[in-house]
């Protein structure tokens, strides 16, 4: 009887096949390759679910399948004999993620039928091929069993997002945004790769799990108080962990490498859904979760993760408040939400972080697809100020979008509430003990308010009030390929929170924190990759106010209250048939927010006004000095030749004289030297 695990590679290979088919034959296929993609992602989903069920049945899978490059251990001492392999690690975390990714990918494919095909786009085979490659890369990244494989597919994910963001390459802005996305994440990946190299060179292994893993090796090194590359083991773990984190910050769009994400809205909205919910951006946070055991060894690294996460959450949320483009708002919300996840992981809330990752995948995909539907409705208009009143004309879109918005804002009982609350709770109890985490928590908490504000600002401006343009008054209809994914995700956004009702569990004592059990190895388990193991390694103290339940209620109340406050503020400010912008109230702050704290400006300045002039200077130096020396040598030689040939005056008497002079010179030198005249 074949088991699900034997087919594990197929989970990723189906979309790869779809990529090849769509690229080669998409032109000739009905729907231009969409069907291949849908079939492939559906198959991936089926196999993912099968694997998920198998893991639920208590089995896990960790196998090296392919030796990519093999060192020769016989001739090389130490880590140079390392083998670089491809393998599959199917544990609770990765199977969960596989399901999420393949599900979202499937829905995006289906939605694309309505969004891309129906709109008569050109280049559809390319589009579907790239989607397939994107899905393939992400799935392979998810089930990678070692850091190098993870890095490789991490990079491929970056490539695919480049290609898809730049899908409309005939415009000026899309290629620019694509370039920016790749370049900024590449900058992060530079650190990631350095981290991979450093970890490999230090521990001689890159495995995530098992006794041969670098996590165990690092733990041993710390226990043994070894010195690695001139640093104490823990310091070195921190350094390497932070290097890898560079890649995470780039991909998950954390401050300061978040600037690419809003620009990435230049891609088709479906692509945005995929990038934000399940692939590109999720990859970063997933990686932290994947190698959480390693970060658990370094409190410093975790603190930095938490702090960056908290700061990004607030930072991005404030910018989201002033955006007019519906996709821009969603983009900043993504940055902000991933900040939460980082915070959750940083404070040791492994379950909370993964939980939010899952929920976010559903509701953010929903929101983006919803936004896509809105854009279809609006005949490709994205400015919210030109919308309004769509609520009645597109009820499915509206209600599903609303579900997503409620989840995003974290309103009970939508899924977002449960996961965000858990993150905030974890941060809160830690923040009570440690002021660094306290600050991170405070920022994240404040961000909750802004989240509610921008979310409902978006909902109200888009769907409520009166139509503010002709397009809004007469929307384009949407088909079932649009509404089906929306409905699916809408349901998920509502109910996904059930997976881990931690507050209720804590209050009532019921064993209903399924996700925690799942991640803690109640079902299938790979040694060391459990929540409990991580928590033990970190050993964070948990503060409380009065009692655990009270603390829980305080935290939840603060979060929910602020979210509702934000939503209400939005309602107050923007409801009504003719909402006003309220920008003047913000004064100069508006400019700062509107310009995204000038983050783009300084990064562009770095590229354009610093790097480029330096490069031009180097070029001038190269042409002038280095090449100048080369050409100078040749000029001097020829000039010398010009001098030498002047000896040849053409007058034979001169020759006789010169011959005699030369002869005399020889005579004098050698005669004197040899003593002939004595």
């Amino acid at each position: 009887m074949a088991t699900a695990f034997e087919f594990a590679p197929a989970i990723a290979l189906f979309p790869l096949a779809a990529f090849v088919i769509a690229l080669a034959f998409g032109k000739y296929m009905p729907k231009k390759g969409a069907l291949a993609g849908i079939a492939a992602t559906a198959a991936s989903l089926v196999f993912s679910l099968w694997a998920f069920v198998t893991v639920a049945g208590g089995e896990t899978y960790h196998e090296t399948l392919y030796e990519w490059a093999v060192g020769d251990p016989t001739s090389e001492a130490g880590v140079q004999g390392i083998e670089f392999t491809f393998g599959i690690l199917l544990d609770p975390l990765s199977t969960l993620m596989l399901v999420i990714v393949s599900l979202i990918a499937l829905l995006v494919h289906v939605f694309s039928l309505g969004y891309m095909n129906a709109e008569g786009e050109t280049g559809l085979p390319r589009y579907y091929a790239e989607l397939g490659l994107f899905t393939f890369s992400m799935l392979a990244f998810v089930f990678a069993d070692n850091l190098l494989m993870a890095f490789m597919f991490f990079e491929l994910v970056g490539l695919c997002s480049y290609l898809l963001i730049g899908f409309w390459f005939r415009t000026e802005s899309a290629p620019s945004a694509a370039k920016k996305a790749f370049l900024v994440t590449r900058f992060g990946d530079y650190f990631f790769l350095l981290g991979v190299v450093a970890i490999a060179a230090t521990f001689g292994t890159l495995q995530f799990a098992g006794p041969e893993s670098f996590v165990d090796a690092a733990a041993d090194a710390i226990d043994g108080e070894e010195t690695l590359f001139g640093f104490g083991a823990e310091t070195w773990v921190t350094i390497t962990g932070l290097l890898v984190l560079g890649g995470v910050i780039g991909k998950s769009a954390q401050f300061p490498l978040h600037t690419w994400l809003p620009d990435a809205m230049e891609g088709p909205t479906t692509v945005s859904a995929l990038i934000h919910a399940a692939t590109m951006v999720a990859a970063g946070v997933y990686l932290v979760a994947r190698m959480f055991g390693y970060y658990a060894l370094s409190p410093t690294a975790l603190a930095i993760i938490a702090f960056v996460g908290g700061f990004t959450a607030l930072f991005a949320a404030t910018m989201g408040v002033v955006k007019d483009d519906i996709k821009q708002v969603l983009a900043y919300s993504t940055i902000s939400q991933y900040g939460y996840m980082m915070l959750g992981l940083g404070v040791g809330g492994y379950v909370a972080g993964v939980f939010h990752l899952m929920n976010h995948a559903f509701f953010k995909a929903l929101l983006f697809l919803g936004a896509g539907a809105v854009i279809i409705l609006m005949h490709h208009e994205q400015d919210m100020w030109k919308m309004g009143g769509l609520k009645d004309k597109a009820p499915v879109t509206y209600y599903t979008f609303l579900a997503g918005a409620l989840a995003l804002a974290g309103i009970i009982p939508f899924s977002g509430f449960w996961s965000k609350d858990e993150i905030l709770y974890d941060a809160f109890v830690l923040g009570l003990e440690d002021p660094v985490f306290g600050v991170a928590y405070a920022m994240a908490l404040l961000a909750v308010f802004f989240t509610g504000l921008y979310t409902f600002r978006m909902v109200i401006l888009t769907f409520h009030g009166e139509p503010r343009s002709e397009a809004a008054a007469d929307p384009h209809p949407v088909g079932p390929s649009v509404t089906f994914p929306l409905a699916t995700l809408g349901v998920l956004a509502l109910v996904a929170g059930v997976a881990n009702l931690a507050p209720i569990a804590k209050l009532t004592g019921m064993d209903i924190t399924y996700l925690e059990f799942w991640l803690d190895g109640e079902y299938g388990v790979v040694d060391g990759l459990t929540y409990t193991a991580y928590t033990e390694t970190i050993g964070y103290p948990a503060g409380e106010i009065v009692s655990e339940q009270a603390t829980l209620l305080i935290a939840a109340g603060l979060g929910l209250g602020l979210a509702v406050a934000g939503a209400l503020t939005a309602y107050v400010l923007y409801s009504g048939p003719e909402p006003v912008r309220h920008t003047e109230k913000l004064g100069s702050v508006y400019g700062v927010l509107r310009n995204n704290y000038y983050q783009d400006e300084y990064q562009v300045w770095l590229a354009r006004n610093l790097t480029l002039p330096v490069a031009r200077g180097a070029d001038r130096f190269d042409q002038g000095v280095i090449d100048g020396v080369v050409n100078g040598v040749s000029s001097v030689s020829l000039f010398g030749g010009g001098g030498v040939k002047r000896l040849q005056t053409g007058v034979v008497t001169n020759y006789a004289a010169l011959i005699m002079l030369g002869f005399l010179a020889l005579l004098l030198v050698f005669g004197l030297h040899g003593g002939w005249f004595l």
Binding site: T649, V652, T653
Partner: protein, 101 residues
């Protein structure tokens, strides 16, 4: 009475230098040629004197050869000077200087 060999050498050296001086100063091709002949003759004096000094005849034989060759050289030289005159209407050796540098 025997003249010491050093005197012959000095004589030949003087002759050689005179010839050389002529080579360097005379612009007439014929004078140039004659100066070279003087230098050759300086060598001939040497050869004969040394032959006498060493008491073998090789030097004297070589002197004969040298004279014969000098004659041949003059023959070729005069021929060249002839065509020189035909082409340049002059026997000044500094005139033909079309080729230089």
């Amino acid at each position: 009475m025997t003249v010491p060999v050093e005197y012959y050498v000095l004589l030949s050296l003087a002759l050689f230098c005179i010839g050389l001086f002529g080579v360097l100063t005379r612009r007439n091709a014929l004078m140039f040629l004659m100066s070279v002949e003087l230098m050759l003759n300086a060598a001939t004096i040497n050869l004969i004197a040394f032959a006498f000094y060493h008491g073998n005849l090789t030097g004297q034989v070589f002197a004969l050869f040298a004279m014969a060759l000098a004659a041949a050289e003059v023959a070729v030289g005069l021929g060249i000077i002839l065509v020189l005159y035909r082409n340049f209407r002059d026997v000044d050796v500094t005139v033909p200087s079309t080729m230089r540098w």
